[in-house]
Symmetry: C2
Subunit: 230 residues, 2 copies
Amino acid sequence: MATKTRRAARRTDALSRELIVEAATQILDTEGEDALTLRALTIRLSTGYGALYHHVANKSDLLAAATDDVIAQVMTDVAADVEPRETLRAVALSLFDAIDARPWIGAQLSREPWRPALLEIYESVGEQLQALNVPEHALFDSAGALVNYILGVAGQNAANARVHASNEADRTASLAAVAAQWAKLDPAKYPRLHKAAAQLGEHDDRQQFLAGVDLFLAGIETVYRQSEDD
Amino acid sequence: MATKTRRAARRTDALSRELIVEAATQILDTEGEDALTLRALTIRLSTGYGALYHHVANKSDLLAAATDDVIAQVMTDVAADVEPRETLRAVALSLFDAIDARPWIGAQLSREPWRPALLEIYESVGEQLQALNVPEHALFDSAGALVNYILGVAGQNAANARVHASNEADRTASLAAVAAQWAKLDPAKYPRLHKAAAQLGEHDDRQQFLAGVDLFLAGIETVYRQSEDD
DNA sequence: CACTCGATTGGATTGCCGCTCCAACAAGCT
DNA sequence: AGCTTGTTGGAGCGGCAATCCAATCGAGTG
C-alpha cells in the first residue's frame, strides 16, 4: 500500500556507523574475511550502498573501525597482575588469542599500525616495561620491539591458520605434509630443518609464541639491569 | 603479411614461467604492487591471458614464485661472519632491507609462510643459534621465534612505509602528524605515549629493529647459557 | 613431404567487487 | 505549506582475476 513499491520500503530504525561495524564484524566472524563484501552488508542490513557510504568512508575504514573495537575490548579485558612480567605475558597471550580467533585483525593491524587501537597496547606494554626497570631512554625502542614481536608473530600465526584450512584435522594433515617435505630435504644442506621435521607435528604455536616473549623479557632484564637488584 | 591479421602475430620466442615471474618482479619494483595486474602483464609481455595461465596457476602463485626468487637471492648474498651473533644480525638486516625495498615481499611472506624461500632463512638462523650454544631441544622454538620476529617486524615496517607515502618528505610529515596526535593525548591516561611523542620524529626504524634483535639474542644467551662460558 | 596431435598462444567473455552518483524520502524549521 | 538538511536505496561504472575456446605452432610419424 501507499508508495506503490516504486522503492523498497525505507528503513524505520536508524542506521549508524556502530550498527554497520557490528554487522561487518559478525560477517567476518561467522563467514570469514572473504565473505565481507559491501554487497553482503547491504543484504544483511537490508539497505543500499549509499546508506553504507554515508556512514563509512570505504571498506578499509570499515575494517579499521572493526579492528579498533575488537582490540579495545581485548585490552580492557586483560587482567593485570602484581608482577609486571606476568601482566606482559597476559597481554601478549590475549592479543595472540584474539588474533588467532579473528585472523582478519592480524592482517588489518599489519596494514595500518598507529591506529587508535594500538595506543592501549603501547601504553600498557610501556608501563610494564618501566616497572621492570627499563630506563626511560630505552623504553621507546624496547616497547616498540616487543609490540612488533607480538603483533608480527600473532599475525604470522593467523596467516598460517588461514592457509591450513579451518578445522583441526586439515591443520594436522597440512602440518604433516610440511613435515614430510622437510624430512625429505637433503640432510647435508639442511641438517637442522631435517631434524626439526619431527618436532613440527607436535609443536604448539601458542607455546612457541610465549617462549619468544620470555626470551625477549629475559633479554630486556639482562641488558637493562639496573644497579639495584630486587 | 600472410595471416591476414586475423590474430595478432604469435610470439616467436618462447614464453616461460621464469620470464613471466621476471616481468612481474619488474612491474612490482618499478610501478608498485597495485600496478601488477594480469592485464598489465599481458601488455608488457605482449601476450594474452591464456598464455600466462598456461605457465602460472594464478596470481597468488605468481607472487609466491617472485618472492621465492628474491629471498633466495638475498640469502645467498649475506656475508657470513666468524661471530655467530654478527652473522645473525647481518641476516636479519639483509631481510629487513630487502623487505623495506620491496614491500610486497613482506605482505607475501606473512600470507604464505612455509614457502621454500623460508627454508634458507630457518636453516641459517638455526645454524647460528646452535653456534651460540642453544641446546638442541630449544633450537626449534628459539629459531621460530627469531624468524617470526624478523619477518613480522620487517613486514610491519614495510606496511608503515606503504601508508606514509613513498618519498621522504611525506614520511616525515606523516610521522609528525602521528607525533602531534600522541602529544595531544591525555597525560594522565597515556603518560608514556605522551612523552614518547618527542622521540617519534627522530627514531630510526632500522635501528629499532636491530635493537630488538639484540634484545632477543641477549635473552637467548641468558636463558640458554651453557655451563661452559667462552 | 603431408599429416597429425598435443602444447602453446591470444583475446573475448564472465562474474564479482568497490565505489560513485543521483533520485527518493524523512524530519525539522519558518 | 514550502524549504532545507541529512539520510536512504539502488542502478550503473570501471576494473579486476579467472575461464574458455579458437587459432596456431612444431615435434613426431610414415
